[in-house]
Symmetry: C2
Subunit: 364 residues, 2 copies
């Protein structure tokens, strides 16, 4: 076949996106085709910069060109990305492509730790990322991002005073911890906490974001209801540890999102603190909290198992020091990077398969 | 001195209760003095059956008798107890001597584990113990007491239908987990959760109890406010793990109880998951979550440090199996027993030093 734009598209229409299971051309992922003599260049627009299948897709493209257009073409493939969204024309958070809830039911299982590491991992991959710390009574983001003493600015936009998120490690952050002294107990009934969350959504200058992660508090109460009643949540990630009492609560969390009147897609389950390994005894795995609980939960509810993170002192230290473990190269960073890629992948698949989530009606 | 009732009391008035720092006679702790020839018997009424100073006090009594009345008296001391209370004439929970909140701010630090083991330890020592599982969104008591499928009976008392607590391991229990299917998320806003707690307090047949422990959810919101607005809480025990993000939340929890308009005495801090020790390497202590955070917190707020519990797989297993670790002899049981004794001691001291807590006014 002759080297023409049309024939290139024909050739590439044999390459499937392994996740979405449609071909790249139908998916509109091929852009910027340039031909000069026997030189061909084009761009593959992935659905997320954190795509774990980047190399695989690139190779499939090269093979398809070779097979259908011949071996003597010099091909240059640029892998870029354009994060997908199903959000459309929404008055709140118009520039935000995906709103991801990180939830668990149970406290202390690592929601905040996962949120922080996921956020930094996605930002490192090139995505625009924000985090809302929705745990009004136990905010962790200021500590985990080492910005406890920052105070967000206020910007007047039109009639409105907008809160400017704090930016750290390439991630935009908002937390009640920036607005009240760390020591003070915020002893509020539900409606006060809910109105703080609404401010973080509606009165904060988020701008353009690929992913806005919501670090939820434990439980299934006011904050959770207010979130799904205020914005359509793209999907929820369930964090759990392996033991029975945690799985029981994770199940409640999962069931909440699956309730017909709430109906937020569950992107998958992350098992945290899967096992403990002492640094000087890397072969010893201590299943302090039990084994395989997260995987079983995912199977039982027929949702993806996104991955597992071991119990490692460095992760806790990273949290307390405000330097997320993902930032320090090693097996822990690799584990978080893998979980971040899988999560991004699950978001892309969800966006390809499902419509925008419906905001929950107030009297649901 | 002659062996008379009066002289026995005189002799024993030299013995101090080491905690309350008053003498046993003034404290009304000597009862049932019996004299026959040179044989003397009397009862020391301790302020709790879980008194860690039992042997010490007994020895002090024997020494005082010997010193003041002579060596040739045959003395028999019975150590009994009568748990003290400051509660008086209250319409709600009239038979309950002490209402103890177990709180933390942070989730997953072991509030429920400590509550379960404390309850069983106190019951084993001979006290009458009840537990209200106030974690409406993540109830753990049914699992931790292996009675997930029990259903409380209803008893008609006068006009009222009262819920009958479940009894397990000598402890009376009530939990939302007995009333709703375990899988279901209880997606309630605050007022619904609060009214469940009120039912557990007002519409449950508690009868006579020395200690009613309240296993609180994380946070400082509706349930916490409803508790202190519904009954005068004798004291609060703060459970924390050593790391910064947990201490930060524990601090908020502590501050809530210390707020002037709430003003519930803080009995002390328990540090949980203090360090991890693999069973086959008992000399290795891994401070996964950091070191000494609980002690520092106690010092900083000038409240007692009650004790520490290590991170031990058997504790988690006990929780998941519904067989609290305190029930299996060994170092873990000893650690919990010590914490239970110290807590009981702190309650007795609080009752000797302070008046009844005031119920918080609704519009506080
Ligand atoms: N995989 C892990 N290894 C070691 N420590 C961890 C891990 N995940 C979380 N932690 C620590 O456990 C504690 C609870 O985690 P956190 O993220 O605050 O939980 P949550 O937000 O669910 O309450 C924190 O101190 C955190 O640093
Ligand atoms: N000292 C400990 N050693 C091992 N596991 C523990 C210990 N304390 C608590 N756990 C486990 O940690 C998890 C969280 O404890 P839990 O009592 O449910 O916390 P909370 O009530 O504060 O949410 C449970 O699975 C429990 O069995
Ligand atoms: Mg958190
Ligand atoms: Mg609990």
């Amino acid at each position: 076949m002759e080297l023409t734009k049309e024939n290139v598209l024909k050739a590439l229409s044999h390459v499937l996106d392994p996740d979405i299971k449609k071909d790249l051309v139908t998916l509109g992922m091929i852009e910027n085709i340039q031909i000069e003599g026997n030189q061909l260049a084009f761009t593959v627009m992935l659905t997320t910069p954190a795509c774990p299948l980047k190399e695989l897709i690139k190779n499939d493209c090269l093979k398809a060109i070779e097979k259908h257009l011949g071996e003597d073409i010099e091909v240059e493939v640029e892998m870029s990305s354009h994060v997908t969204t199903t959000r459309d024309n929404t008055p709140l958070l118009p520039g935000v492509k995906n709103i991801i809830a990180v939830a668990s039911g149970k406290g202390g299982v690592g929601k905040s730790t996962v949120t922080a590491n996921l956020a930094v991992a996605l930002a490192k991959s090139g995505a625009k990322v924000g985090v809302i710390d929705a745990d009004i009574f136990g905010p962790s983001m200021p500590t985990m991002f080492n910005c406890e003493h920052e105070q967000p600015g206020i910007k007047k936009v039109g009639e409105k005073n907008l809160i400017m998120p704090i930016e750290q490690y390439g991630v935009k952050l908002i937390s009640i911890g920036f607005l009240t002294p760390a020591e003070n107990a915020v002893v509020w009934r539900g409606p006060m906490a809910s109105s703080a969350l609404k401010q973080f959504i509606a009165d904060t200058e988020w701008g353009e974001l690929d992913y806005l992660l919501i670090d939820l508090p434990p439980g299934t109460s006011d904050i959770h209801l207010t979130l799904v009643q205020t914005v359509p949540v793209t999907g929820a990630v369930i964090v759990t540890t392996p033991q029975k009492v945690a799985i029981a609560d994770a199940q409640k969390g999962l069931n909440m999102f699956k309730q017909p009147q709430i109906n937020v897609p569950v992107l998958g389950v992350i098992e945290n603190m899967a096992y403990f390994t002492p640094e000087e005894l890397p072969d010893n795995k201590y299943y302090i909290f039990g084994q395989g609980g997260g995987k079983k939960l995912a199977e039982r509810f027929d949702v993806p198992f996104i991955g597992e993170i071991p119990l490692v002192q460095g992760i806790r230290e990273g949290g307390d020091l405000g330097y997320p473990a993902i930032m320090k190269e090693g097996i822990v960073a690799d584990a978080f990077a893998k979980v971040a890629e899988s999560t991004a992948q699950r978001i892309a698949i969800r966006n390809a398969e499902k419509k925008e989530t419906k905001k929950v009606e107030i009297n649901a």
